[in-house]
């Protein structure tokens, strides 16, 4: 009886202690709640932004969605031909240029740095510089694009053209592509590589059959996110020479002659332009909001493609 009672007491005390300790963990709770609040704040701000833009854009998007997608830059917001077609074509081709130039070069450089480069001071120096380049303000890349692609290589790119803009933005996202691809390649388990060597694979076969398939989902996510960043840039495009008032031509999506034509437009620039125009003609505020929604949908579609590709490769890896 006494013994049982003793045990009961002890359990009781432990229970109380445990409960007290739980109750005393106020800091832990506060920390947890703070984290939740920070998440909610960022979601809230994002939500407010999206709702605000969509509300502003509602009239245009529901009133004449196809006219807005096929229309061109106009001087009056009430013009029924006002639309984003030229800018959408420009942004589409800029995205293609980024994909064609930045992705192979960036992924190639990442494979070299991770798999082939000697781990010495020189490699570390290069990696440090790539990281610094990723933090360089985008306007600086715009200057580079202006002097290199518009002026010096104008004969090749057509001057202030989609080609110049596309290559400039490809270079802008290149460091980000390299860094994300490097991270993805680094995450490949060492055992996988050693296993490949174990069955007699050469380095090239090992990379092709083990490293790349395993790293592909990460590489795709990183590269396509960097592309989303690239096509949202306005500052470099203003320097490389996106027109602001009127673009005489309205090429189709697959009109290749437009790529090195001496004038172009892109979504972020048309948004800047229309926001400025709203001072003179308030109706442009609505058009600018609608253009933002179009750009958002464009980016979401690209990210959806990224998720799709990632899942595809993840399944393969599985």
């Amino acid at each position: 009886m006494a013994k049982a009672r003793l045990i009961g007491d002890r359990t009781n005390k432990m229970m109380v202690q445990a409960m007290e300790r739980r109750a005393a963990d106020v800091r832990g709770r506060v920390f947890q709640i703070t984290l939740l609040v920070t998440l909610l704040i960022s979601l809230f701000i994002l939500g407010v932004l999206i709702v605000d833009v969509v509300v502003d854009a509602w009239g245009v998007l529901t009133g004449r969605p196809s006219g807005f997608l096929t229309g061109t830059m106009r001087s009056l917001s009430g013009d029924p031909k006002l639309g984003v077609h030229q800018a959408l074509v420009g942004t589409f081709w800029i995205a293609v240029f980024v994909a064609v130039f930045a992705f192979p070069i960036g992924i190639g450089a990442a494979i070299w740095l991770e798999e082939y480069a000697l781990k010495n001071r020189f490699t570390r120096f290069i990696e440090l510089n790539i990281r610094n380049l990723a933090g360089v303000p985008s306007i600086v890349y715009g200057l580079l694009g202006l002097f290199l692609f518009v002026k010096s290589l104008g004969g090749l790119t057509g001057g202030k053209s989609i080609a110049s803009a596309g290559i400039t933005l490809a270079i802008l996202v290149l460091p980000i592509v390299i860094i994300t691809a490097q991270e993805a390649i680094r995450a490949v388990p060492q055992g996988l590589k050693e296993g490949a060597y174990g069955v007699g694979a050469t380095k090239w076969t090992m990379i092709r059959s083990q490293v790349l398939p395993y790293a592909a989902p990460g590489i795709f996510t990183g590269t396509l996110l960097s592309m989303s960043r690239g096509i949202g840039e306005a500052a470099p495009l203003l320097l490389v020479g996106a027109v602001s008032g009127r673009l005489g031509s309205n090429p189709g999506f697959f009109d290749f002659s437009a790529i090195n034509a001496e004038a172009f437009m892109a979504m972020p620039v048309i948004i800047v332009e229309w926001v400025q125009n709203s001072g003179r003609d308030p109706g442009f505020a609505e058009a600018a909001a609608a253009a933002i929604v179009v750009l958002l949908v464009f980016v979401i579609l690209m990210n959806a493609a990224a998720i799709f590709l990632r899942n595809h490769f993840e399944k393969k890896r599985g």
């Binding site: 196809s66 997608l69 096929t70 106009r74 001087s75 008032g245 005489g248 001072g279 505020a285 959806a304």
Partner: protein, 363 residues
Amino acid sequence: MKLRKLLVLIIGLIATFALVAAACGNDDDGDATPDTAGQADAGDTVDTGDTGDTGDDGGQQAAAQEAPAGSVSGSVTISGSSTVEPISVRVAELFEDVQPDVSVTVDGPGTGDGFKLFCEGETDISDASRQIKSSEAEVCAENGIEFVELRVAIDGIAVMSGEGNPVECVTFNDIYGLVGPESTGFGSWSDAGSLGLATSDLPDVDLDIYGPGEESGTFDSFIEIVLEDIADERGQDAITRPDYNANADDNVIIQGIQSSDTSFGWVGFAFAAHASGVKLLDVDGGGGCVSANADTIASGEYPVSRSLYIYVNKAKADANPALVAYVDYYMSDDGLGTAVSEVGYVNLTDDAKGATRANWAGR
């Protein structure tokens, strides 16, 4: 499970995109019909024109000045002032209906940048919110570029207050004291005198300021015309005070000015001209008080106004019929009249329009 959800989301998004694309496709067809119809019309006009006019084309040219619809093709490149840009763009849009095969591209980096490109022969036309500087003209001359200067419109800004304000007339110094960079925090009209500038005797009444925001061309024009010189002399940045009610919508600015008897504000004259419940202040730019009305602005007497110009490269005009057709159209009533007023600027007087047209004809 998660994967499946994502897949559903993606398929949904793709389906939406496909629908939108399909809608676009349909609309392309829809749009194409009137376009081709328009082109056919233009073609018809040319045909009928050709049959009768081929012989006396030379004789008609001087009188009619305009090439038959749809008869020219080519491209025109314009750069320069962002203030003039909307006029040139509007003219191009109206011109598009007459000559659909001419592609006009207009950019607006600023008057100075525009002249740089123009004097290197990069552009056909330079938009300018001031006359060309001698230093810029020298560059043009060095590069052998001859140009013709055409005055196309007037940019006037009305300075306003509420109807009950005893103040009738303000000087540039007064305006600088009320809204200039050094006036931040001033809550009364009489504070304008505290900067040591020679100002009028302004009453000690509340000062509520309404004006366009930075994104507006009127904001820039106002600074360049009124504040810049005084700010430069005093070693200040040419900006306004930051603490006033800025709005992009001229209607809201007018409402703000109406709301107080002792408000102060400014908007483009073309807009202010038909606003009620506000008092347009006279402005003294050094030559006495001048009231703001269409006549004083058109004549240049009203000091818060400036002329807007286009500069056309003569050699390019000789070589490019599309450029000539565009400027011809610019000089017509559709250009100097309709387009100018549609984008909110003041038309030149008929005499001044005549002078501009004569300049172009006599290039």
